[in-house]
Structure formats: C-alpha cells, structure tokens
C-alpha cells in the first residue's frame, strides 16, 4: 500500500514537471501573441482585431487556406494510404527502396519543390521542349492556381500520412488476420472489417498532420500563389510583415489567432474521432501480414514506380538540370553544362558551410531532446482523464499549427529582453531558433508515439505491475521496446522537417546564424536560382546520404526502428 502511494506521488510530480515544460514550450508564445492581438480591443472599431475581421482579404485568405489544405490532405491521404497499405501488407518487391523514395519528397524544401515543378511545366521546361510539347511562350502556368498549390501540398505531406498509417498497420497482429482467413473471410472482408477499423487512428492522425502542416506551409503557396495574387493566411501575414514591418504586428497576431482557432478545431475533431476508435490488441507488433498479390504483383509494382517517377524523379531531374546550366533559361546541352554553381557554393561562399553546420545542429538537437521528452509525456498523457488529454494535446498542437512566421514573431516578442536569473539575451542567437523548433516540432514527435501507445495492450503493463515493477522500470523494459519504432519515426520526422525548415528561421536568423532553408530561399529571391538549385541538390544528397547511413545501421537496431525497413 505504501509503495503504491509513493509511486503515485512520483508520477504526479514528474507529470507536473513535464506539463510545466509543455506549457512553457507551447502556450507561452501563443499567450504572448494573444496579448498582442487583443491590444486596445476596447477601442472597438480602431482595434487591430476589428480591422482584421472586417477586411475582405482576411476572409478570402482564410477560405483559400482551408481549400488548399483540405485538397492537400485528401491527396496526401490517397498517396500515403496506397503506399502504406501496399508496402506494409502485401508481397511487392523492393519495399525498402520504394519507401525510401517515397519519404524523399518530404525532405526537399517546399520552395524548391515548387520551383522544380514550375521548371517542369513552364514554357521553358527542358523536358517538354525536348519532347516538342512545350506550351507557347507566356501561356498561363497551370501550377499558379489553388489546385496547383493543393497538389504540391499533398505530395509534400503524403509521407506524414504514410508514417502514421504504417505505424498502426505494423501493430496489426498477424494472428488476427490468419484467424479470419481460416474462418473463411475473403480478402475484401478482412480489409473492410479488420484492417480499416484498426488503422483508423493512424488515418486520422496522419490526415490531421497533413492538414495542419499544409495549413502552415509557406514555401509552396508563396512560390505558386503570390505571383497569381492568390493569398493564403501565412503568405498574407508574410507579405504584410515584409511591407509594413513591425508596425502591423498586432494585426498579424490577430490574423494568426484565426489560424490557431482553425487548427484547434481540427485537433478537437481528430480527438473526437480518435476517442471512438480504440482497440486493445494482443500480440506482437512489427510482424505485418503478407497478402499474396500473385499475378497482380507486376502491375502494382509498376503503378507505384510510375507514381514515384511523377512525384520524385521528374522534379529532381528538373532541379539537377537547373543546377547545371550557366544561367537561367539556357537549355542544358553537353556544351552548356557547367559545375560553376557547385564550385561557387562550396568553394567561395563561406556562408554555405556555416548554414550546413547550423541546420544539422538544430535539427539533430531538436530530434534528440524531443525523443527524450515524448515517451514519458505520451505515457502520462494516456493516463489523464479524456477531457484533459484533449486540452494538453491541443496546447501542443498550437505552435505547429501556427504559421512559422507567426511563431517566430511570438518568440521575438518573448525573448527580446534578457532572460531573468541568467541574464542572457537569446534574441539574435541560434538558441532562439532551437527553442522555437522544440515548440514547433513537439507534436510531430508525439503524434506517432501517442497513436502507437493507444494501441498498446494494457495487460502487459498490468502484469508487470503485479509482479512489482515500478513505473520507470515498466517504461524502460516494456513500453520503450514496444514504442521504439514509433519513437524513432517521430525523431526522424522532426529531423527531416527541421533540417530544411524555412518559415521560423526566415524571421529569426541573424548574422552568422543562417539555416539551409534561409540560404536557399535568399539565393532564390535574389535571382540566383541556379545557385539555389545547386545547394538544394546538395541538401537532397546530404539527407539521402544520412538515410543510407541509417540503412547500414539497421542490422544493429531493434526491428521496426527505421521506418522504411521491415
């Protein structure tokens, strides 16, 4: 009895600490924003909130945001869903390569994705010109539209859906499906009555992540929307900030409240749906069932390859072509090809090495810290009353749902003065970007862990508790090994998102603290697309190299730890 009360006391204390951290990370910037947004609200018509709410451009941008994000989510669910089901549950060949390639689009910075697609479809497209089907000079670019934005957002966030779904599919015990097949169920029944219900939580989590990340995406709507005068909320905020400076901070804070509310509504809906799809599963995770495709296999494989060719190979080829030409608009031939851009970026620009170092430190640090935070956090979150769970999760969701530009401004407001006690001014340092990243990507790491923890059979832990194992021991010996794949998948996601992050660092970088995303964006903006493409090629090569290095380690890691390895 006494040991039980000690255990509860310990847990409560630990959880208060965790919750404090989460609130510090997630809520403080938002509250600071709220204060800024509601300044002078008593002045009625003259208050920033009123001005924003009565402006037609606000509502137009809000509708555009909803439309493009919903379209992006649907496309991401379709793409991610097809890949997750086929790769996890059937006997197609070359799975690890297929997954590897499918994960790549997420690592290419969104503005580069947009740039390379524009290269693919523009009147000067090297590909279309060589096929003789290039549109006439100055003909409208099909991508400069809401649909163009939606399609690219979908491709960009499809890996999020894929990972979330795969995590829950891996927890599908083989015994269940086998039992059904023995009882005479046809495959379609197994799909419809067993697999779909079990992976519903993964679908919902993935869809929500895709929607929210599309909502806050800046690179794609900036490249495809601004030229067409099609503004979504993040680009509207960015445009206003760039034009009118800090004078409109209060109005921008009010605008970002809108996005915050939108995201919270999304999270609340997700919580509601997730709450209705809980299962306790018995058995081992990481042993997916194999459906035999038989004579369909070749066709399915060809289909997957074709999709990958469109979403990955073609844009990357366009990017590589752009990095090898001496100037924009010059067609690539054997004579015109040059490595000048690579030489300039690697040999002469000192800023390249600095940006690489900064980005790797930030992304690696954020991934490690969040990995350590997420497991205990998710574990205790599960033990909270349902109502509280939703509230804490919504809190964590906020910094990720806010467009990066806005989170950055909130961080500036917060850290502009020296910190109490230690008297360090974080403003204008890498430390500030690091803190912003922790706040922003906490939810990315937590989602797969929470989704996978929700599927964990509680009887395993109860047995250990009866045998006298304390909470830490249970966490380390039972929960951690079972959660390892989800945890690592979360950390990987954080790293991949952070290493190319642009919108937060776009406002927080300062002399000597550039990140790769900022560098590529600045190069592109100053008209040096060739240099930007060269750097982007290097970044893609770097990340692909890191993934390959992980592949080499795969044999020493627990099974299922690396998302694209079975």
């Amino acid at each position: 009895m006494r040991s039980f009360s000690i255990e509860v006391g310990q847990q409560r204390w630990l959880f208060s600490l965790l919750l404090g951290l989460v609130v510090l990370l997630s809520l403080t910037p938002s509250l600071r924003l709220l204060l800024e947004a509601l300044r002078d609200v008593d002045q009625g018509v003259d208050s920033p909130v009123w001005r924003v709410l009565t402006s037609a451009s606000t509502w137009r941008a809000l509708w555009h945001s909803l439309y493009t994000s919903a379209l992006g989510m649907l496309i991401a669910l379709l793409l991610g869903g097809v890949f997750a089901f086929v790769i996890t549950l059937t006997d197609v060949r070359g799975k690890s390569w297929l997954v590897f390639c499918f994960m790549l689009p997420m690592m290419i910075p969104p503005q580069i994705t947009a740039l390379s697609w524009l290269q693919l479809f523009g009147p000067a497209s090297p590909l279309l010109n060589s096929l003789g089907i290039a549109p006439a000079l100055g003909s409208p670019q099909p991508l400069y539209s809401a649909q163009g934005i939606g399609v690219l957002l979908g491709i960009q966030s499809a890996p999020l859906v894929f990972l979330a779904l795969r995590t829950s599919l891996l927890s599908l015990p083989r015994e269940l499906v086998e039992a059904a097949r023995i009882s005479g169920a046809v495959p379609i029944q197994v799909w419809w009555q067993m697999i779909l219900p079990i992976c519903r939580s993964g679908l919902i989590a993935g869809g929500a992540m895709a929607f929210i990340s599309s909502l806050g995406n800046f690179g794609i709507p900036a490249m495809l929307g601004i030229p067409a005068g099609y503004y979504v909320l993040p680009t509207l905020i960015y445009q206003r900030m760039a034009s009118f400076g800090t004078g409109v901070l209060a109005e921008m804070a009010a605008l970002s409240l809108l996005i915050g509310l939108l995201a919270l509504a999304g999270v609340a809906l997700q919580q509601h749906l997730l709450g209705r799809s809980r299962f306790g599963l018995v058995g081992h995770s990481g042993r997916p069932h194999g459906f035999v495709l038989g004579r369909w296999r070749g066709g399915v494989e060809a289909l997957l390859m074709a999709v990958l060719a469109v979403i990955l190979v073609a844009p990357l080829a366009a990017l590589a072509v752009s990095s090898l030409v001496p100037a924009m608009g010059v067609p690539l031939t054997l004579e015109s090809a040059s490595l000048g851009a690579f030489h300039e970026m690697l040999g002469r620009q000192g800023v390249t090495r600095r940006a690489m170092r900064n980005s790797l430190w930030l992304a690696g640090g954020a991934a490690l810290v969040l990995m350590a935070l997420c497991l205990p956090l998710a574990y205790h979150l599960q033990r909270l009353p349902r109502r509280w769970q939703g509230m804490v999760l919504s809190t964590i969701e906020v910094p990720y749902a806010l467009p990066g530009v806005v989170l950055a401004i909130a961080c500036i407001l917060l850290f502009v003065r020296p910190l109490p006690l230690v008297h360090v001014t974080l403003y204008g340092t890498l430390g500030l970007i690091f803190i912003a990243y922790l706040a922003r990507f906490l939810v990315v790491c937590l989602k797969p862990v929470a989704a996978s923890l929700a599927q964990l059979d509680p009887s395993l832990e109860e047995a250990a508790q009866l045998a006298g194992a304390g909470p830490w021991r249970r966490l380390a010996n039972i929960v951690l090994p079972l959660m390892a794949p989800a945890l690592f998948a979360g950390a990987m996601l954080v790293f991949l998102l952070a290493v190319n992050e642009l919108t937060v660092s776009a406002l927080l970088w300062s002399a000597g603290n550039e990140t790769l995303g900022v560098l590529i964006f600045n190069l592109d903006e100053s008209g040096e697309s060739v240099l930007a493409s060269a750097l982007a090629v290097l970044v893609v090569a770097l990340v692909a190299g890191l993934m390959l290095a992980l592949n080499l380690l795969a044999s020493r890691l627990p099974r299922g730890v690396i998302p694209w390895k079975d």
Binding site: L17, G329, Q349, V424, G431, S526
Partner: protein, 325 residues
Amino acid sequence: MTRLALPFALSLLLGSALTQAQAETLVLYTSQPNSDAQQTVDAFQAIHPEIEVEWVRDGTPRLMTRLLSELQAGVAKPDLLLIADSVTMESLKQEGLLQPYLSDAREHYSPDLYDAEGYYYGTKLITTGIVHHNRAEHAPTSWQELASPEYAGQVTMPSPLYSGAALIHLAALTEVPELGWDYYEALAANRTEAQGGNGGVFNDVASGAKPYGIVVDYLPIRESAKGSPVTFVFPEEGVSAVTEPVAILEGANNPEAARKFVDFLLSRQGQQLVSQQGYLPALEGVEPPEGFPARDEITLMPLDVARTLENAEAQQRRFSELFGG
C-alpha cells in the same frame, strides 16, 4: 528525472554557448545578391586581411524590419549597411540611426550621389528598364507600350512592397506627367503581374513563364552574356535609378574598420570591381561593363528624395490596393 534534466540542461547550455559574440569582426547588412556580396568582401579582405567581414543578405525592406527589431532588443549587430536606395537611408538618417563620415574620396563624385553631411554614399547606378525573352513577339521600346492590349497578361514586375528599387521606380514614374498613377492603373487593368523581388521577375522572363518584365538592368545584361535568352531595353521615356548607398550605423561596434570599408567601395579599385560585377559604376571615368550604353546616353528620370520618403507608405498602400497583396 535525470533523463529529462539532461536534455533540458543541454539545451540551455547550447543556447548560452551560442550566444557568445565573435570578437573583432565587421558586420555588413546588404541587399546585393550573394555572389556579388562575397566578391566585394573578398576584395576588401585582400587589402585588409586583419579585418574579418561577416555579411547578411536580404531584400531591403526586410533587412530594415530586421534591423529595427534588433535595435529595439538592443542586440543590433551590423556596423554597415549597403542597401538598394537612398530613400531608405534618408529615413534612417532622420531617425538618427546613422553616423556621418566625410570620406576623402567624395570629391571625385557628383554631389547628387552622396549625402552632403556624409551620412551615406551611392556606390553604383542600378537602373530599372524592360527585359524581354528573345522568342517574344514584340520588342518594346517604351513604358507606355506595356499598357497596350497586345501585352495583356504578358508582363511581370517587382512589387514595391518587396523591393527598394521597385519603390523608387514607382515614385519616379508617378512623377512623370505623361505616365503617373494612370499608367499603373492601366498596367493593373492589363493584368500585369506584380510579384516579389527583381530576381523572381528575371527568372520568370528567362524561363519563359512571362515574355516581358520590368527589371533592374544588371540581371539581364549579365546573364545574357552567359547565354540567358533575354534582351534588356532602356525605354525612351527614361529609366529610374537607385544608387545602392553605403552607410555606417550610429551604434557600430567597429567604426574604424567600417570607414575603411566605405573608403574601399568609393576607391577606383572598388569601382572597377563594381564594373566587373556587371553594374554601372558611380565614379565617372570608370569603364562601364559590356552591354551597357555610355553613361551620357542613359536618360534618368528625376527623383525628389524628400517627397518620395514622405509618400512612401501611401504609395505602397495604393499599389497594394491596385495589385492585391
């Protein structure tokens, strides 16, 4: 507990380690394209190897937003600014953010290129004209032509909300009686696209997304020499120009080194570098780069700096209403 404390302490440690300022460097904020900025810095360091220069590149309006928020936080880093236009410099001077320096090199320059009290000095001339793709149907020769029906939906230009040069261009054109705001309204009615900076406009024309563009001179002239399929035109009504001025900040940590940098930019050697990079040098008698007409053949539109400064925000808002954003 230790599991949690460690990363938290680590992050604090990381934060504090990264706040250590670097000693004895000159920090430059510039709106020059990256490769040009690096070249300028390299040439300066070849003469003054004892001075380490760290530079940051961004569009002029955003550089100003950054500078003002850094000043409010009391962590402003730059010693020097090298940005697009003198109107921005004039506003910084009026706010007391710059310090004067009377460089001996100024006597070789025309007085309208620098501030009489020595607060800022123009370093080059960047004019704004028309660029067209070599496969385009027409070869426009005047501003007026771009508002005619055959150019409907075919023209792209930089937005004064993003680009210092574009704001000056707007101010200059709206002062010309034959053009004025009517001209901009005609452009808007002609579905002319106003997007971000000059770089984006140039890329659109070079890649064929739009056949015609309004853009700064050096991008098309320099890139067409490398094989880019574009041609630059100086329209007959004249061109607007910015001078890319340099200035030393009031709160510069290293004013001595900053003055050396200003002297270098204004020296003949510095101006020859400007010409090599493909810009019109500010110093008379330095050979302009290939592809430029002689200096006296270029008609410059007049610009009233004080008036432009006064109207800047109103002009931006009016533009924003016309072209969205």
